[in-house]
Symmetry: none
Subunit: 198 residues, 4 copies
Amino acid sequence: MPNKAAPDASRRSETARRAILAAALDLVAEVGYAKLSIEGIAHAAGVGKQTIYRWWPSKGSLLFDAFLTLAGEGEATALPDTGDLAADMKMVLRATVDELNDPRFDQPMRALHTEIVHDPVLAADYVKRLDEPMRELKKQRLRAAQRVGQLIEDVDLDVAVDMLFGPVLNRWLQHTGPLTHDYVDHVVDTALRGLGPR
Amino acid sequence: MPNKAAPDASRRSETARRAILAAALDLVAEVGYAKLSIEGIAHAAGVGKQTIYRWWPSKGSLLFDAFLTLAGEGEATALPDTGDLAADMKMVLRATVDELNDPRFDQPMRALHTEIVHDPVLAADYVKRLDEPMRELKKQRLRAAQRVGQLIEDVDLDVAVDMLFGPVLNRWLQHTGPLTHDYVDHVVDTALRGLGPR
Amino acid sequence: MPNKAAPDASRRSETARRAILAAALDLVAEVGYAKLSIEGIAHAAGVGKQTIYRWWPSKGSLLFDAFLTLAGEGEATALPDTGDLAADMKMVLRATVDELNDPRFDQPMRALHTEIVHDPVLAADYVKRLDEPMRELKKQRLRAAQRVGQLIEDVDLDVAVDMLFGPVLNRWLQHTGPLTHDYVDHVVDTALRGLGPR
Amino acid sequence: MPNKAAPDASRRSETARRAILAAALDLVAEVGYAKLSIEGIAHAAGVGKQTIYRWWPSKGSLLFDAFLTLAGEGEATALPDTGDLAADMKMVLRATVDELNDPRFDQPMRALHTEIVHDPVLAADYVKRLDEPMRELKKQRLRAAQRVGQLIEDVDLDVAVDMLFGPVLNRWLQHTGPLTHDYVDHVVDTALRGLGPR
DNA sequence: AGATAAGCGAGACGGTACGTCTAGTCTTCTC
DNA sequence: GAGAAGACTAGACGTACCGTCTCGCTTATCT
């Protein structure tokens, strides 16, 4: 039994919702995460603060929703499959770093990741609605590679995905090095060939 | 001609410095990054706010210094070398996840990483004073493995390090899965063997 | 041509009207004037806010109506006349202070007076619908006294009423002293006898 | 033992204090009591809100202080004494109504009285710092009148003061009639002569 | 040794933003 | 068409911190 009356979603203003999400993206890109304020978003969206507090429990969840409109929730249905696993993975990862290098995506993604680092609830949501679906697509491509003998059979596909995509995300988050196409090519080649001899 | 008089470091109070760093660690562990305030740290350390602002340019750099006292700057001089690369890497990574799972380390590290994500200057400092030295140790161990034929010759060692350590850091930051010894074992085995057949 | 359609009073819900007035009185007595809100009244009355805004132009006018239901508009038809002016005035004033000391009346009256102080329109309404009728009754009693030689002929009856009732109201409003029967007796005696010698 | 550290008054900024009081007076005169906000005062005074909240417990006490700067705390030392009580009281009361009719005084005084009506603590302060001293001056003048036989001996001087000044304040607060010199003359004459015959 | 000056604890200052509350308007649905 | 319900824009509330500043006090260095 909820002790606080939930707002009636059927009456929600779609106009306001969209204005808020757009304003959040614009503002985070403009002023950066540190200076992003609910008050600023409300003002930029031409909306009362309460309208934000009514529908989002935290700045993180708002950023998450905003990010989803940017990413297009569940837009991709499959990774490219030209028959050459290495080439396909390089293509995907190159597109990823291009996105990460795009200022329009960079700031919102950093903001979202910051929230995820500190908010396990939000992180769970992120895993379920963004990470899992994307991970599934990646695993599907890897399974297809297994079928044509381009990937060993007895590998943990989650670990495989982590090894292919983790290093790039880390380098971006931690500014430990430049995000280039060369780097991702190296990562794909190394991951596929393995570090050990033979 | 500097327009702002630099503080005279020779007169700096070591007592205050230590109290501030300790209070920062205690507080971030206690209340979390989001509720961590300079004012709170100053109060907990029994110190005036100005003493913090005088010596640290940002909350991030303070957290960095605090973290260094926790990690023990440049304490380790070499990674273990029993002759078995896989076993050694598993040992190191298991120790790493144990640390990441330790509440005393978890919050300060998350706080530091948050700052790094948004502050390239701090990130550069982090890379130079923490990431680079640790990375060098790891590369030394990998070079030793190359000498005894446990690691292929023509591999980019930076990429190798990223593939071994990146997935763990990632999983921790994004809460994408549990950080277990099993997981790191999988990662090491897979990285060494490679994803491709043969 | 009115630009705002006037509500059709014939369709007005008497139930809602009464619930609102009752809720206003209850709430002002319970939480005090400062924390009295239209929203709170609407909620307590089980009524939509619009129903209040439709029928009352201001919080003051609502309080005024509520107060009228408490006072019983134009209920008294004459002041007591035992033939002894002083005794009759003391009786009336004692009843007045008893009312002012009654918590049920105290808060609503203070609220109403606050609104009157700042709203000349409401004040005019108050004068016409509450002050004037009461004042007329008082003047009637004074005129009767004049007829039997208990009050001088050439006195401004409005001034006389002000001198008898004003001090009590003031003392109550300003908390300048306790409102006792003794005090009103003093006022009546002094007013009738005059301050000057003889 | 106070549970909340009291601010250190010795460090108080006199500039800020004066700016706040002046801004409060200006604003209440300009926009009226109903639209007077702490935020507005702070802004007009070029001051942070906290500086107001630090030094005044309520809007009422701020208005009180502001009013004191307007009235000049304890400025008058004695009422005029020409030997003619009636003439002197008329002079004083005429000055009073002139003040009440002055827009510069009207709004702040109404604001202050509103707060007093609802805040007994503030009312006590008002009585002590403004009402009592003024009342004492009035009573001194009345005592002087008693000495020269212009006022009866056995009268409660507080009641006498209430009868002379109460009606004017009342008429002003409640808008029950115009505040004219004629009116105060009537009041003084009637009070001194008394309502009863002879 | 006394003067000088810096760091220090303390905390007031002008501000920004927080998250909550209410005003008054508007919209939707029911009776 | 009035009414219950409640979302909407707007903005004040009182609180928490920001980063700067000023105040005495304590040290350390320099005449």
